[in-house]
Symmetry: none
Subunit: 245 residues, 2 copies
């Protein structure tokens, strides 16, 4: 790409990919449109995978630099924006963008973006989607919605590449959202306090309640400073860190 990017290229995260061949094809699709950073969450057949290289048709650098993580949370810990791609409608109340709109958003927002893609057979689980702040849905033939993993990757990469010569420096001085790990730290702090307060009841509903809280706390896009403020608030409420006098 000849243009100078004003924001970092997004990271492509394949969540529990099944076939090495598809990992290779995704790498090729990425490099076709100038994306080079691939992360793999718990690839089914381990990593490296001998089937990936031939399918990458020369995009070896993407595979060589790919990093493996145990969880989605680990894979996106250093990212400020997390997008989940899914074709199915779910009961999640998050903004849904087309690839085109998501590409514009990624170019416009300061801070690193990660884009999650689910396993070939089943797509992202609800818990994976819960990590994201925004959903990307490809508007697809409603009567034939089965899209190949590498095909989904290329559509997103293609739309992103359109903005490479056009992206203007962001005009806002808004600080970027906190890193995912900072957000997770705050959520964990609140969660521990709520466990102590018997908030989670009945137990059968706890996973849903946790997801609701995560969605709600992910929605603001709080900056690192705001997350620290909230953690101060929580600490004060817990009486753990009495204010200096």
């Amino acid at each position: 790409m000849s243009a100078t990017p004003t924001t970092l290229p997004p990271v492509i995260v394949l969540v529990r990919p099944q076939l090495g061949e598809n990992i290779g094809k995704a790498a090729r699709a990425m490099l076709n449109f100038g994306l080079a950073e691939l992360r793999l969450v718990a690839p089914r057949d381990g990593w490296p995978n001998p089937s990936a290289g031939p399918a990458a048709s020369g995009a070896d650098i993407v595979l060589e630099q790919a990093k493996v993580f145990e969880s989605v949370a680990d894979a996106v810990a250093d990212c400020a924006h997390v997008y989940a791609t899914t074709v199915r409608k779910r009961g999640v109340t998050k903004p849904v963008l087309t690839p085109e709109a998501a590409a514009l958003a990624i170019h416009a927002a300061p801070g690193r973006a990660a884009i999650l893609f689910g396993p070939e057979r089943s797509g992202l689980e609800t818990d994976d989607v819960a990590v994201a702040r925004t959903i990307i849905t490809v508007p697809i033939n409603p009567e034939f919605g089965s899209i190949n993993l590498a095909q989904a990757v290329i559509l997103i990469a293609y739309e992103w590449s359109k903005g490479m010569g056009l992206a203007q420096p962001p005009e806002t001085e808004l600080p970027p959202p906190a890193l995912q790990e900072e957000l997770d730290g705050m959520i964990a702090q609140l969660d521990a306090m709520l466990v102590d307060s018997d908030f989670f009841f009945p137990p059968a509903r706890t996973p849903v309640t946790r997801r609701t809280l995560r969605t709600l706390l992910t929605k603001p896009g709080w900056s690192a400073q705001e997350v620290r403020t909230m953690r101060g608030v929580l600490s004060a409420l817990a009486g753990k860190q009495p204010r200096r006098r």
Copy 2:
């Protein structure tokens, strides 16, 4: 498809395709975005090809209705507009469009359009390109321009589908933000708890701290339901409303 097409969908023409698997994947990519008419010019391994069906992942109707021709000229004889896809620059003096611009042109022009895709290894020959009036070139990473056949097909089909009404922004189920009085109630509840916890210190900084907290809690645009959830969280932390057991 919900929208009524104003022009016929374009015909996808694979010129001398080599692998049955790639024909199947191209068929799947087509149907993903509502294209169903596939034509094959002199497929290397004959037709039908047993490798095509499994790769089509359910897009069998496209393969079943595919027609085979001996030459490019025969394959596009009934079409009014012929586009040739190529990534390489050639010495031909024809208009070159991006997939986006070509999709707009196809939607705007009356008469059937055909889009030619070359063999996997070499792409379209100069004689094939000569049949076309217009060239489509995908703006691709100049340092890694090797694009897979089915990937090229899906990018064109995807851009075409944007004009079909499929590409409407997906309906989000996002509820509107809570009313200001609901938000104020939550902020007041937290404020009272923070006063009890000696959070506001020193007194001279209290107005600034209150403003910071208000900004932070206004930022999310939480819905009425989310505000109620947060109030439940606060009540639990305050131990004021122990959960029913």
